[in-house]
């Protein structure tokens, strides 16, 4: 027992990692591999997914995964780099979806164009809608973003606009399942790396300041609201893209695009995958979407299941998968006597 007491676990950074972090020029193959391997693994893994998917149904699941992944990335970015906990992922999906749906249905614009339009216009609109709420924080922002989608849904129902509860069916679909999958996967990969780069740029530091050092930011003559808006815009881009894509994936938009699932799932994915890593959410969705598909047989029970997962993770393993894996990857752990 006493023996145990004087032993403790020590963590050492791998030499490679230490250098790779600080020194900007990486000298040896070893170091390059050290940095490249995980990224390559992710990219290749994602790109191979469609090939190993057993059948069309699972390929469709991959597409859905893509949408959720985008949402999750957006959520993680907002929550852990800018400090805005948004429970309104559905708003992004809905707005993006509807806009591209409208473009396609009423103006006959082809998906190739309507998706980008939906994305951009959607993001702008979402940012404008959320603008007044940006000074709010924590619980307040979370709650109000939570109410926005519900609001949108009710209004569309009540006013009977945009096809009311029927939605707008018969949109033009995307050409082939392969396009479907690689389009979304490509977007996921690109946006992940772009965002990761972004948060390590100078602007990333400003964002982080907005999150937990806002005095310093304002004392530097930088408008916090402005950068919050920028951040929301970025997240909205991802969300709306997901929505627009979804609209043409099923050739249909309706109020259920504002459904709560879209707001909740990103949370779970992020919590499980590893908050504050941006790749974590992707990983999280990659694990959870298929699981929830497999559990489909259990009906409602599967929601129970993944909300419990969420609780457990946040209580007992809040670092999430990726942070953990990363620690293991970058550090030796061993027992030392003290």
């Amino acid at each position: 027992m006493a023996e145990e007491a004087i032993r403790r676990r020590e963590r050492l950074d791998r030499g490679v990692k230490v250098r790779a972090d600080t020194v900007y020029a990486i000298s040896s193959w070893k170091e390059m591999m050290f940095l490249l391997a995980p990224r390559a693994l992710l990219v290749i893994g994602l790109l191979c997914a469609p090939l190993i998917a057993p059948n069309l149904y699972w390929q469709r699941v991959i597409c859905i995964f893509g949408v959720y992944a985008l949402l999750a990335i957006g959520f993680d970015f907002l929550a852990h780099f800018v400090g805005l906990v948004s429970l309104g992922g559905a708003l992004f999906i809905g707005v993006g979806g509807y806009i591209s749906g409208i473009c396609n249905h009423y103006y006959g614009i082809s998906p190739a164009l309507s998706i980008p339009i939906g994305t951009l216009a959607g993001a702008v609109i979402c940012t404008l809608i959320l603008l007044p709420t940006l000074p709010l924080r924590g619980v307040y922002f979370a709650i109000i973003t939570f109410t926005y989608p519900v609001m949108a849904e009710r209004i569309i129902c009540a006013a009977g606009i945009l096809g009311g509860t029927d939605g707008i069916p018969g949109l033009s679909m995307l050409p082939s399942t392969w396009v479907n999958q690689y389009l979304i996967l490509g977007i996921v990969i690109v946006s992940t790396f772009v965002l990761r780069r972004l948060v390590n740029e100078d602007i990333g530091i400003v964002f982080r300041g907005v999150k937990d050092n806002d005095q310093a930011i304002r004392a530097s003559g930088i408008s916090i609201t402005y950068y919050k808006a920028v951040a929301v815009f970025i997240a909205a881009l991802l969300g709306c893209l997901g929505g627009a894509y979804m609209a043409h994936l099923y050739g249909w938009v309706g109020i259920s695009l504002f459904a709560m699932d879209f707001s909740v799932f990103p949370l779970v994915a992020t919590v499980v995958g590893g908050p504050g890593t941006l790749v974590g959410p992707v990983l999280g969705s990659l694990i959870l979407v298929p699981i929830s598909e497999i559990l489909r047989a259990f009906g409602a029970l599967r929601i129970v299941f993944y909300s419990l997962i969420m609780v457990l993770f946040i209580l007992f393993w809040s670092e999430g998968l990726l942070n953990w894996a990363r620690r293991k990857y970058e550090q030796f752990e061993h027992w030392v006597r003290v």
């Binding site: 149904y57 859905i64 509860t165 069916p169 018969g170 979804m246 099923y250 709560m260 489909r296 409602a300």
Partner: protein
């Protein structure tokens, strides 16, 4: 070498298939198992499948094949669940479970959204319940070649309204009732029903005193009821599937509103338990059950047989909308498949269109354009609906006349308020 190998493999394959002759025909049920329609359908369906399988299955070109049922919850009637979810379920059933026939989904919105999918995969889809919106077979008729794989073996709002108008017309001529107030749930099929009803009754010289939409989750209908009372309504035309509508009935009774609630589709009030749960406040409520057989009646010889069998298996009368149609679905499929002698979708479509068998709720025939089951007042001619009224604890069928088991009654406070007496 290779060739031989290939030969061997293919041979063994052939043999295997030959051995496994009883390859089941898969019926995929993708509906919301959490609401009455959905799970009533499933009960009815299972009952039928049992009967068929125990009777030796389906005869496809001499080969006897059993039914196999794959059930999946689409959660499509829950709030906060995207319809894409339901579509995903459909694809899972079709691609993963290899369903040959699709039942559902329930909610109109989902059913409409599903049409495209069904068209892509060329599977025969039978709508047993929900999806009452006329838009459904409307869409099929518009674009027959694409959507021809979908059939609806149950009534739809527009026809239900016709039944309703027929019944109300009767009341009108008998008691001179002609003032109606409309309260519908805020969903596609109900709104459609409400609007059609108001229009047509207006034409027939009825006064439509108001039209109110309530969203799911409403816990207080006093506003609408009091409006109806102040407007001196005689009929409360109600349509909707949400459980909250039982609140409406309770309040109607508590407030003694002198108007007769006519549930042209009234989810909760269909269930046999409704009387107990409302402590008898359901009395006099009229409910349209869409298809005969959802409550005991003598529509066809088969009807009572079905009700007995159902009661024997589940210990309760057929629960409500979706039960009898769920029960009929396998029989209709069986009939079509046996006539077509194949599972090729296009052949099946033509076979289905020629369907003509007398089922639980009358003769099943489809309109060749819109694939809507042809409704009739006479079970000999087509599918009959059923409208019943809650009378001291029992669901008494009052319409259509051919199968009626009782007369429409009025609550005493209404009688005295309107001095109602036969003309």
């Amino acid at each position: 070498m290779k060739k031989i190998l290939a030969l061997v493999i293919s041979l063994s394959f052939v043999l295997l298939t030959a051995i496994a002759d009883a390859k089941p025909i898969v019926i995929g049920v993708a509906t919301d198992t959490q609401i009455l329609d959905g799970f009533a359908t499933i009960r009815g369906l299972n009952l039928a499948v049992e009967e068929i399988n125990s009777a030796g299955g389906i005869n496809v070109k001499g080969e006897k094949r059993p039914f196999k049922v794959e059930i999946m919850d689409t959660r499509d009637c829950e709030p906060g669940v995207p319809v894409s979810e339901a579509l995903l379920v459909l694809e899972k059933i079709i691609l993963d479970k290899g369903a040959d026939f699709i039942i559902g989904p329930g909610r109109s919105e989902a059913a409409l959204a599903a049409l495209g999918l069904i068209a892509n995969y060329k599977k025969i889809q039978l709508l047993t319940c929900g999806g009452l919106s006329p838009k459904f077979h409307g869409t099929i008729a518009e674009n027959y070649d694409k959507y021809k794989y979908a059939f609806r073996i149950t009534g739809e709002s527009r026809y239900m309204v016709e039944e309703a108008m027929d019944l109300l017309g009767g009341l009108n001529s008998k008691y001179g009732i002609n003032r109606m107030f409309v309260i519908v749930e805020d969903v596609a099929f109900a709104r459609a029903g409400g609007e059609i009803a108001s229009e047509n009754l207006k034409k027939k010289g009825w006064e439509i005193l108001g039209y109110e939409r309530y969203p799911a989750g409403t816990s207080d209908f006093s506003a609408g009821l009091l409006k109806a009372k102040d407007a001196k309504a005689q009929i409360l035309f109600v349509m909707g599937e949400m459980a909250e509508l039982s609140i409406l009935i309770n309040q109607w009774n508590d407030m003694k509103i002198p108007a007769l609630p006519f549930g042209n589709y009234l989810g909760p009030a269909m269930e046999p338990k409704f009387w107990q749960v409302t402590k008898g406040r359901a009395a006099y409520t009229i409910v349209n059950l869409v298809n005969a057989g959802n409550a005991p009646s003598n529509a066809t010889p088969w009807t009572m047989k079905f009700c007995k069998a159902y009661e024997k298996k589940y210990g309760t009368e057929p629960e409500g909308y979706g039960t009898s149609s769920g029960y009929m679905a396998p029989y209709i499929i069986k009939d079509a498949v046996e006539r077509a002698g194949t599972l090729d979708p296009d052949a099946l479509v033509t076979a289905m269109e020629k369907t003509n068998l007398v089922g639980v709720y009358g003769r099943v025939r489809f309109d060749p354009k819109s694939h809507q089951i042809i409704p009739q007042l006479d079970p000999e001619k087509g599918a009959v609906g059923t409208i019943f009224q809650w009378q001291d604890g029992k669901r008494v069928v009052v319409y259509p006349p051919k199968i009626a088991m009782g007369e429409v009654k009025f609550p005493p406070w209404m009688m005295e308020y309107w001095k109602i007496k036969k003309k």
